[in-house]
Symmetry: D2
């Protein structure tokens, strides 16, 4: 498995913080190792789940170096080079490539209002400079632009793009992307970012999945992948159902923002399992209430995951 | 007039580029001087019209220093500190304050998905570190979030915010913001960003305007402002109509992206008047077609603006 | 003043209901008369404010006949012919024309997903059958489609459309529509539907206004119109400010739906003045809470409107 | 199989028109019979694919009676009761129930702007009057409202709703709806409306599918269903892929409106197979160009469907 031909489960790793708001390097090292040991096929650092938008450049570099060191070549590490436009993205790419990533993940321009011809130049320019496989990150809920399937496949066929991380929520569009990619000889690795429809997406031909929830239950997604790879679709769906039930942790903090409720729930469930030391969020994201944390822990336990002895006791 | 109590016409200055894609420092110096001489009451650097999303940090600093030097204290200079979230915005603020701006302009978090409590922390944190007046930049078309009027007025009353640049297109919301600000003792300077409804916005109580089109016709907006200040609303509207007709230059390149069509038209009309040396856009933004440039020039001429002897001839 | 050349204040009349949910014919008659006596220049029946979406055909006809009879030719009566597509709209037009309206108001197709060529056929077909002036009703918040200015002006120039009621909230678009209409010889009467930016819209050239809030304070809008007509823009804005403060009644029921909060507030303020007998809403719209009603009444009183002796006492 | 416990393939039948724009009763009769003979488990009349928005009441009744007569009780017939709000929907329900449907399909209020409490009253009121099983039709692209899963399941548990036709495109939401329904004892029949992700939706627990494309290839969807029912997911996906390739017919008329391109392509492919006499659309929907028809026919042929001797020749 290389970064240019990625298949399987590639969690977008969360960024743990200490109580004082610094990157919790020890927890991050341990988490990256835990994911690899659980059988994942790659790790994606500096994604939305990794709270990339909240990290200054020095912390982006620290997070990347930490994960690269902990993974230690056992699986590929992809890194998000998330910035406004090519001029800035190139700088982010250079920084994370220097920190050791095996591939980079790039969105459409942000804040800018561009058309397809401009999108194409954007990706070509970044890919030319990257020197590593480039994955397009399709996430219109954050960047406003839906990447056109025909552009993606064309750039894949020319070797500009190595793959796509699809977090668009447009599963009809994903089916069309898979079909167009297949018709072109499958130049792209196509990864879905939607935790709860993975079985169906693998059935229709996805090459893999980038599930934020795999931070909470990596082994579950690896089992799902193995069932699907063996053609055991009923088994894959059984695992998917358990994971979908677990995903309800993200619906326990309704009054909070999407970033607080989603990543906050992942962190609460991870802390409950002893996977990270604390559930702190990046500034200025709100913390889950104690009630919400209780509900998250109950759901985590109900999904069959071991709730750890309180972390403080272990130290 | 200080940056903390801004009124009048504050153009968001464009960033001219040389043919090789570098910041055209000579044109930018000249343009900043031209705006001041035309009577504007402030200059806003590194806004959307200034193609801030396309500039690497080194160019952001160059643009800011150039404009600050050229304006030379004759009017306040505001600078956009446009980045994802507070951790990164603070770095941008420090950089442009060091480069000499008198106030900073800050959007809601970008890419992040936050709620009102998080927005409040965001602005408080940045203002605390800024050491200069902070203007909130309300531009949901680019950042997805509409800033709530009651939050803005509350932060104004506490001295956290000095004003608002409203580019939301929600004129009913702007009326409500003006009313709430007035009821609170008018702590905020409220500036509209919409070129073609300025007369009406001043009538309803706006403190000023940040018109991209003032790059093309600064004197026109100054006349509009002076009519309005004198209570000559018919005169203000007469000038506004001419400027609204001129704004049709932005509708001449329909097939292109909003950034290409809008800023591209400004630059074409500026170049035609000899205000900048070339109409080049930031990478990867498309250039206007020759036909579109012809239409832009015809509209510019019809609005009574002098079309210069071709710039090349002057050199 | 005829329906084909409408100018001034044209309230979209509310539909009062009895406690049992029937159309309150007596209140409606009295209200229509009150509006005319207050000096309005037309009455618009079966608009969004009139809760047209909630009325069965028999009630639509009853409401129309009642208003037509009460207005008795003193000003034109426009009627909404609100239905999915031309085949159904034609039936609605026939019904309200038979009930005596002087002009009809028609939206883009609803539920259908059409393009501009189809929009054009839609309006042409309806106008051909109407036999009365047709006004296009631009209300994308309810029908999803924004009507293109160039189509509207073209249909105006050919005599297909008599005017436009603009409830799009896109004031930049309205300015462009006014300019295009003026350039074409002003075939269309252009009426804004936004209660709180009327002064500015008249300054930029609107022919009139269709303010839901005029149900609550018709005399105020008539004074605003008269100031504007006399070129007294400071006076127009003074009246507008009072009306904008009054419009805050629609923000007193935040937990409720837009229909409940908006029309509900109008009705509460009207009932408080004794203009209608009760504030009942169409099924299944929620009623305002007693607290919200108290706030509405306090705002109404603060705007200088007379709060009546409780209606029950009068009967 | 009854209308209250629907499973399987339930095509939303198209409405064929004669060249003069009348409902083509003969083609409709034949088509309904063809669907039943092809093995479908129900027929849905007066849906979006049936161009319900374009049909006057008399034609809605004619279409319903024709399909009911042709189906003749062999499978349940559902009918769309598509109108603005409950007062009007009840009339539509009465009309199609009188025409013989076994169940009715009802959207959220249209044009109205309601909240969840109002939605609940809407569905309760209609169900009380219907006397037949009521299916909620979740189609935010046309009616703007996304139906909340918890409301739907609660109304299902109380017997108010019999099922849901989900055309929301939100497959994560559909997974959550399926899970909530299962947790409540599966009171609802849950049908997906998305032609190209049916295999995955059945895998995750959908009870059936309402595919517009089944008008073109009913037998294909029946085979897909039978594979899925037998647990042959690889077979289901194989059939799904062929059908997804066939669905590309809807992308052949890019310049046209969604209604023209989608239903227009279905009709062109049906006419090519001799299933209906002509491909005419409701007024004012544009016809496909000859080139687009050629492309549709080529795709239809490539999907293995028999292209008929030209229909004219048969007559």
């Amino acid at each position: 498995m290389t970064a240019a031909r990625l298949r399987g489960v590639v969690p977008p790793i969360v960024t743990p913080f200490t109580e004082s708001g610094q990157v919790d390097v020890a927890s991050l090292e341990r988490l990256a190792d835990h994911l690899v040991v659980s059988g994942v096929h790659g790790v994606f650092v500096l994604g939305s789940t990794g709270e990339v938008a909240y990290l200054a450049d020095r912390d982006r570099a620290l997070v990347t170096r930490t994960v690269v060191a902990s993974v230690a070549g056992r699986v590929p590490v992809l890194g998000g080079a998330i910035d406004f436009t090519a001029a800035r993205v190139r700088d982010q790419v250079a920084s994370i490539v220097e920190a050791g990533v095996d591939g980079v993940v790039v969105t459409a321009p942000i804040y800018a209002l561009n058309d397809t011809a401009e999108l194409e130049r954007h990706f070509r320019d970044i890919a030319e400079a990257a020197g590593k496989p480039v994955y397009a990150y399709d996430i219109p809920a954050r960047v406003r632009t839906k990447l056109p399937a025909d552009l993606l496949v064309r750039l894949g066929a020319e070797g500009v793009l190595a793959g796509v991380k699809d977090s668009s929520g447009d599963d009809v569009g994903f089916r069309r992307l898979v079909a167009a990619n297949r018709a072109a000889g499958a130049p792209l690795s196509l990864l879905t970012g939607h935790e709860v429809v993975v079985a169906g997406m693998l059935l229709l031909g996805a090459d893999g999945v980038v599930p934020g929830l795999a931070n909470v239950d990596a082994a579950g997604y690896v089992r799902l992948w193995e069932c699907a790879s063996a053609g055991d679709w009923a088994g894959a769906e059984r695992e998917q159902r358990r994971l979908a039930d677990l995903f309800e942790i993200t619906a326990q903090a309704r009054g909070l923002s999407p970033d607080a409720a989603g990543v906050g729930a992942f962190k609460a469930a991870m802390r409950a399992q002893g996977l990270i030391a604390g559930a702190g969020m990046a500034f200025p994201v709100s913390a889950l209430s104690a009630d919400a944390v209780d509900r998250v822990e109950a759901i985590t336990r109900a999904a069959g995951l071991p709730i750890a002895v309180p972390f403080e006791v272990l130290q």
